[in-house]
């Protein structure tokens, strides 16, 4: 390439790529690296910064508050992930049948997805009110005495999970529906000619053909559920008695209530490591499944 063409190419890069790159470096990449550096320090924003090696990590991994938050985060994932994936799959399968009003149904299921977490959390906090909430009234109508929900340490997390599943179902349903519509119809025609039952068609065509979609939705739902925060903060602030305290809430409290910047950074890296490990593990599992199929 001629020097002139080269010069114009780099000029083009400076105009087109540099703004984005500068922003990515300043607001994403540099903060990520700084946070790693900070995680080996103790700093309250005002005083001197002191370097403490891996102390923050050692403390975090023995801190009952952090371990409790980790346990609660895992509880959240265990309750949330299977519910949201299975219910959304079911709804997508039903919506994929030749039915009238599919557009309307899907539009309705998607409304909670676009609503802000703050509004959704407030609505559900009110719905889950033990005395006057609609949920306990409905349960009472079928003869069940509803629990204290967000006021009861044994039930608070269930309330948060219920709210989160309700909000996210539409999102996963839409992705599943797109996956379902990508399955070539001739497969079903052939199966129908062979006299396959609906059950057989599901297990030998739909389910395997949906594997990439399932992988995609479980991965992104898993990552986002490790980062659960907004709904917890608005519904319970981690209570009662720490029953819904989660990892991000620990990061937030340590950084912006106790001003332990180093410690908060260390917890965020523990969270990142967890997410990274789980994502990699899931990837490997997926590859292994693919190979055993192939």
């Amino acid at each position: 390439m001629s020097p002139a063409a080269n010069r114009s190419k780099y000029l083009a890069l400076a105009v087109l790529l540099l703004p984005s790159l500068a922003g990515m470096v300043v607001f994403l990449m540099a903060p990520v690296l700084s946070s790693l550096v900070l995680s080996f320090s103790q700093w309250d924003l005002i005083g001197e910064i002191s370097w403490v090696g891996i102390d923050n990590y050692v403390t975090a991994l023995a801190d009952p508050a952090v371990l409790g938050a980790l346990r609660n985060t895992l509880t959240f994932i265990l309750g949330y992930l299977p519910s949201v994936v299975l219910i959304a799959l079911g709804l997508a399968l039903l919506l994929n049948r030749r039915i009238r009003g599919r557009v309307i149904f899907r539009a309705i299921y998607f409304v909670p997805v676009v609503t802000s977490w703050v509004a959704v959390s407030l609505i559900w906090k009110w719905l889950l009110n033990p005395q006057y909430g609609l949920v306990n009234f409905a349960l009472g109508a079928i003869g069940i005495k509803g629990p204290g929900w967000l006021f009861d340490p044994a039930w608070a997390m269930t309330g948060v999970i219920l709210t989160s599943v309700w909000k996210d179902i539409g999102f996963v349903t839409v992705i599943y529906l797109a996956g379902l519509q990508d399955i070539p119809e001739p497969l079903y025609e052939a199966a129908a000619l062979d006299g396959a039952t609906p059950w057989q068609r599901f297990w030998s065509i739909t389910f395997p053909m949906l594997a990439p979609t399932t992988f995609f939705v479980t991965t992104i739902s898993l990552i986002s559920s490790f980062q659960v925060f907004d709904q917890v903060w608005i519904m319970t602030q981690g209570g009662p008695a720490g029953a819904t305290s989660v990892m991000v809430e620990q990061i937030y409290k340590n950084a912006f209530s106790y001003y332990k910047m180093g410690y908060a950074s260390a917890i965020s890296w523990v969270l990142f490591a967890l997410i990274f490990a789980v994502t990699i593990a899931q990837n490997l599992l997926q590859k292994k499944l693919d190979r055993s199929d192939g």
Binding site: L17, F27, M29, T115, S116, I123, W126, P186, F229, W233
Partner: protein, 325 residues
């Protein structure tokens, strides 16, 4: 992931046409977009069986029953929110609950507007979301085009560095970002709310994929006429990318509009709060005044639902773009 998508144009044309009304298999996104319009262009998977049994069968009835029940579960909480927001306190705390507010009152809305500068929250939300969306779309389109079209040393490595940031949870960047903003004296400022929301690898990735799919021929004519990359981008490419830009804009706008954690950290001044943050702050004063809180929730929900109604098509289309293909 790294390979260019251009060859698909030729391979897809060569494919047997099958039962689809076009000379290639429809892309996932097209099917998703189509199904928004009722799925008329491509046949659903059940069509063979559906042809066999016309009329309403038991499975159909069950399907409708479940789907309708699901729709009720999705909508009832919103109806309850509106109903509660129009009730007096006396009519709220009763069992069994009443669906229709009797007497109906607008007092709760008045209380929300009296106790917090809701107009200011709304203004802040609009300024922050609109600006960060515009910047995000512009930066992502430019960088996506650069990654797709301009060959330069280190392109692959840099692109992977972008992609790697997708894996990093936002929480990791919170403390350093706060420290930077604090050091710059930018806490409680629009730029602190806007700038971190204006960059992201997702948009760059989405637009790069779009430009890779775009046939080069259109641009090549301009190239031969002596136009450079920048001119081609601003006069041709960005206009062709409109659908992808709209998708990204809708996503960026909704993410920014609903964003909570970063505004919570960076704003302490009530006058700088965005709508979600201001609404959550209402809880401090109206702890158990559910009528007032639900009125606040209605105010926060209405604008985004309005956007949703208009932008539904792009949202669904964008969703199926995100990672499957």
């Amino acid at each position: 992931m790294g390979e260019p998508a251009n060859p698909t144009v030729t391979t897809e044309l060569a494919k047997p046409t099958g039962s689809f009304p076009r000379n290639r298999e429809p892309l996932l996104a097209e099917r998703a977009a189509d199904s928004v319009n009722g799925g008329s262009r491509f046949r659903g998977n059940d069509s063979v069986l559906a042809r066999k049994r016309r009329g309403v069968s038991l499975p159909d009835l069950l399907t409708y029953a479940i789907l309708i029940a699901g729709a009720v579960v999705m909508l009832l909480p919103f109806a309850w929110m509106v109903s509660t927001s129009l009730k007096t306190a006396g009519a709220t705390f009763v069992t069994p609950p009443n669906w229709l507010p009797d007497p109906a009152t607008s007092d709760n809305y008045a209380k929300v507007f009296d106790s917090a500068p809701v107009g200011q929250f709304l203004f802040n939300s609009i300024v922050v979301s609109a600006t960060s969306t515009a910047l995000m779309v512009l930066f992502c389109a430019m960088s996506g085009y650069a990654f797709a079209r301009i060959p330069f040393r280190g392109r692959t490595v840099l692109f992977y560095a972008y992609l790697a940031t997708l894996m990093i949870p936002q929480q990791v960047t919170l403390t350093p970002l706060f420290i930077i903003m604090n050091w710059l004296g930018w806490t409680n400022s629009y730029q602190a709310l806007i700038l971190p929301a204006s960059f992201g690898a997702f948009g760059t990735f989405l637009l790069r994929q779009f430009f890779l799919r775009l046939p080069r021929e259109i641009e090549e004519a301009a190239f031969i006429d002596g136009a450079g990359y920048v001119r081609i981008f601003f006069t041709i490419a960005i206009h062709l990318a409109r659908p992808a830009l709209a998708t990204l804009a809708v996503f960026a706008f909704m993410a920014s509009w609903n964003s909570f954690l970063w505004p919570l950290i960076i704003t302490t001044d009530t006058s700088m709060m965005t709508l979600p943050l201001g609404l959550s702050a209402l809880q401090g004063r109206w702890t158990t005044d559910w009528n007032v809180l639900m009125a606040g929730a209605v105010i926060a929900t209405l604008p985004i639902i309005a956007v949703y109604v208009f932008a539904q098509r792009f949202i669904i289309k964008g969703l199926s773009h995100t990672g499957l293909k």
